[in-house]
Symmetry: C2
């Protein structure tokens, strides 16, 4: 999931309650936030843990424990004030700040990411698009001019980039990541199908479409077998074990 995580550092003696939020909880907060925003748009003022949990697709006990890590923002017998909770979660996630994002690689995926509306919606601003392909440099994509990868360091500095999104081919991902880190970026979202080595203190999250499909395939295969009463055992072509043992001495 993440290669380096400075999480759960018990920042000693900080004023806010928000010390030591479990990773699992942090990963769910955006989901809660999304559900709450939708509720707010529908004009819902308060929501119970049961309702919100249903909207977020989790258990109500888990939801309450998650929220309890932020503080006591609910009212017993009533529920949670939607708008207030939206603010508290946003603040906790750091969404009151504006995060400046650079996308490296303007291929199919980078193009889609640049045009993706969900970025701008919550405090994320795409400030730069970079690519190595000369034919793309200078092109206008999603209202931004694609710049040369050669300008990476300058762009990061000038635009104050906080987060780098790597949408390059796998072969280019590591060098690009290295340059991002060297330029001072400490958060990277990696769409390239490879693992990125980063020094301590830099956080990488990976999104891999192929991996997701393979996990689905595993369960589909397994589930189907069960459903069929595990009768047929296809996929069992033996394929003799290669000669590891008993080679010429």
């Amino acid at each position: 999931m993440s290669s380096s995580r400075p999480t759960r550092l018990a920042g000693p003696g900080r004023p806010t309650r928000a010390v030591g939020i479990p990773d699992a909880t942090v990963a769910r907060l955006p989901v809660y936030l999304r559900a709450l925003t939708t509720l707010a748009e529908d004009g819902v003022a308060t929501v119970s843990s049961e309702e919100l949990a249903a909207a977020a697709g989790v258990g109500s006990a888990k939801l309450r424990k998650d929220l309890s890590h932020l503080g006591s923002y609910g009212t017993r017998g009533v529920g949670y004030d939607v708008e207030y909770l939206v603010y508290q979660i946003s603040r906790e996630l750091g969404l009151t700040q504006d995060w400046r994002v650079a996308i490296i690689g303007v291929g199919n995926l980078g193009h889609a990411l640049a045009n993706y509306g969900g970025f701008a919606s919550r405090g994320f601003t795409v400030v730069a698009l970079l690519d190595a392909d000369r034919r793309l440099i200078g092109e206008d994509v999603a209202g931004l001019r694609v710049r040369s990868i050669d300008d990476l360091e300058e762009v990061v500095r000038a635009e104050g980039v906080h987060i780098g999104v790597v949408a390059t081919p796998a072969s280019a991902a590591q060098p690009v990541c290295d340059r991002l880190v060297a330029a001072g970026v400490t958060s990277v979202l990696n769409f390239a199908p490879c693992v990125l080595d980063v020094p301590e203190g830099v956080m990488v999250r990976k999104v891999d479409l192929s991996t997701e499909l393979q996990i689905l395939a595993f369960h589909e295969q397994r589930g189907a077998v069960t459903q069929l009463g595990d009768a047929l055992d296809v996929t069992s072509q033996p394929l003799a074990r290669p000669g590891l043992t008993g080679l010429a001495r």
Copy 2:
């Protein structure tokens, strides 16, 4: 992560060793597979758990335990035969079978997914593209003709779709998912920023770009504070608690 998981079902009395593989292990198998494939392309014949673990970005003990769930496919004192292990993991993930994928929603993201090479590489074939936009229907995208969403049921049946990829706006996702499930699809990969309700036995995995960014933002914010010696405590504008208590009685 997943809304319904028929995992760890102790399929009683199956011949293969592969019963009860932990979810966490399954999620890592594609990563190992990718690393192994890269090694194979480089002509590497055998690999130790230490080397493979480094390539996959995990600890060697974890890797060995993961692989041990599949069986004893290594050789003590030597390591693992790369090609053989590729085959074993592929088989376990069900990648020896060809999985037929339909992409619903041919917007920016759907377009990128259709052109994504990583799909075809491991037994996944995109067999259909569907959209509701009349202007897109009939268009040629990635060698496929975009068909109308009205044909969904027919396409699923005729093309034998196993996995549905939902790349629609959030508002359309649930209805589309319902129709997929009704048509017999039991695995869904959801890119829409919303939770999908599905009946028991259907597996949904969600990929949410905005969520990933928000998790990064949290750690970036937290990490920065630590790095700065938690001196400044911005983001703490109180914003008075709304009047839940002490209203007019």
